[in-house]
Symmetry: none
Subunit: 201 residues, 4 copies
């Protein structure tokens, strides 16, 4: 069993300020290119150029291109987890339908906010070896949502959390991608499906 079975991670977590800035510049350049040019535009040389560093420096911070993608994915998942954790705390004590509505809007907001970067990264993730960190974050998200549902007496809360997550994303992404900008109307339609799933009339 070699380590190549896992998504490579950054070579070193930079301590010094300048190094940290370079590191971030590379990630931001990669994210920008991914958003505007798609996966095929994401080349290491272009990332380095946009980040304002040499290709050699890029490889000082990331052992491979996949390591950059892996880090972008982890970043995105962490953001998502933080948003959901915050949201879960916020809705604590409120009725289930209120909680669901808030989560739906949070998901839409998150997607709009990441400007579709999520789509591309999810696609890329599928062709990368599984990354324990990313898995852990996903589990954390599922645990949080499941905990919320359990409090309201939903049965099989883990499965329900899984289904609801997919339901919301599955409906929101295509709609947003097709140019829909009436977020509230979209959210209401998703609400109906989600609440229907939960047996809430």
């Amino acid at each position: 069993m070699t380590h190549s079975d896992f998504v490579p991670k950054p070579k070193k977590t930079p301590r010094q300020a300048r190094a940290r800035a370079t590191y971030q510049a590379i990630l931001e350049a990669a994210a920008h290119i991914l958003e505007h040019g798609g996966p095929t535009a994401l080349t290491t040389n272009l990332v380095a150029e946009r980040a304002g560093v040499s290709i050699g420096s890029l490889y000082q911070y990331f052992p491979s291109k996949d390591a950059i993608i892996g880090e972008l994915i982890r970043d995105l998942r962490r953001e998502m987890r933080d948003d959901i954790l915050a949201m879960a705390q916020y809705v604590d004590g409120h009725p289930l339908d209120f909680a669901v509505r808030r989560m739906v809007r949070a998901a839409i907001h998150h997607h709009v906010h990441t400007h579709g970067r999520a789509d591309v990264l999810e696609r890329l993730e599928a062709h990368l070896p599984p990354d324990p960190d990313t898995q852990e974050i996903k589990v954390e998200i599922n645990r949080t949502v499941a905990g919320l549902l359990r409090k309201h007496g939903v049965e099989h809360p883990e499965l329900a959390a899984f289904d609801l997550t997919n339901l919301v994303i599955g409906m929101a992404h295509p709609a947003l991608h097709s140019g829909d900008t009436d977020f509230e109307a979209l959210a209401c339609r998703i609400d109906r499906a989600a609440l229907g799933y939960l047996g809430q009339t």
Copy 2:
């Protein structure tokens, strides 16, 4: 306006039996590689090798790699349309919830049947120029589902058809991908969401 604005199509339809076999072998090889190795594994040389033909033969029938992908997409969409059209005829005259349940099961069956090829192809489709044929088929599918919904008095039937399609796919794909094999249980969960969306308790 150049032809490169469209998904290339096969350059010639084979006449002789041997040619037809070659043509099919290429498409099947491509589908197989796509399913098992993902998009990055789909190289023209590998497709030719797996199809048991020379690279030259491949280019007798397809002007480019994208033409192969385009044809796979069209094939898949045509199958989907045929399934949905048949299903729509079958449920004609039955109540809405019956129709929905049948459609959900048809979608799951279709995905299982195509062995997840749909996922990869949909992603590839996004990076290809729009193909009139494929668009036409999509419109046809939407029209069929929308027609069905309209008969039952659903408002905004086109939008509802769009949402429901995404809902079903969005829930079914991840579940099936995660190894879920209890299709009927999955279908029931999706039913709840779909009927909830439609306001059917």
Copy 3:
């Protein structure tokens, strides 16, 4: 010493009418493609298609692509030789300046008539192994012009014939290629150079 050192010739001179027609059709298709699409457009498959025969048949008549080009070159040279021979007979007995003027106009006419095919073929000829037949024809042409010049007391008639041929072609081709359509004016300018070369005021 192998035969590959020479421009390949047609495999067989066809006797039957239909075969002869096919043979000509191939040559004409090749000439047409050369004129309209340039050397890079001249592919054996395209020639066969335009000639209305299968690629297999094409190789029945010509052992290789170069054999087709070689035959086109020979054809063109033969035409040129015939034109020059006829012209030489025609100007026989007239003064040198009259003869020169006629030859100049004949050269221009020939180039216009062949629609620039001559240019392309000459370029292709340079990259083909030398062909005895073509050489022989060139010698014949030179002999004819030289004979004409000798009659008028020109010294070193072979050399003069060589120089004059190049002078006329060298001036006419670029002018015609640049879109000049006033053939008579062009001819007069060439006359001055040619007569100057010959020491005729």
Copy 4:
């Protein structure tokens, strides 16, 4: 309007010494191959091999094969222009026939010096999209020669410059190509034609 309408130029001008050496090595290798093997021998892989660099390095400096050819053409034209400009200055104030004789010898010298590279490149140039730089140089050359002729009262100096250039090249190239090494004798024969064209007995 795409960039493919123009002859591609080198993608980056090398800064470091090693880079400059590589850049030059590539151009020299290309020139050598062109002289000895003709256009069909000019493959990117062979150029890289002969230059002693990897194919990747070649594409660091030239975006395409045509860019290499384009640069060779520009180089040659620049040399030609410099030679002609120098010559024009040199003959300034001298009589027309002296000027013509010097230009003829300069042209022959130039052709010998470039070892016939000019022939092949001119042919290749015809199959490339027009290059503004090259056009500009050509115009400059014509302007220089025309200016010279105008000073001596030649009518239609632009046209005369065009004709004379073609006359000299048209006579010199085939003669030199056929193995003629008596440059002075050749020059004298060309003189007669050129002076005849200009009406100088």
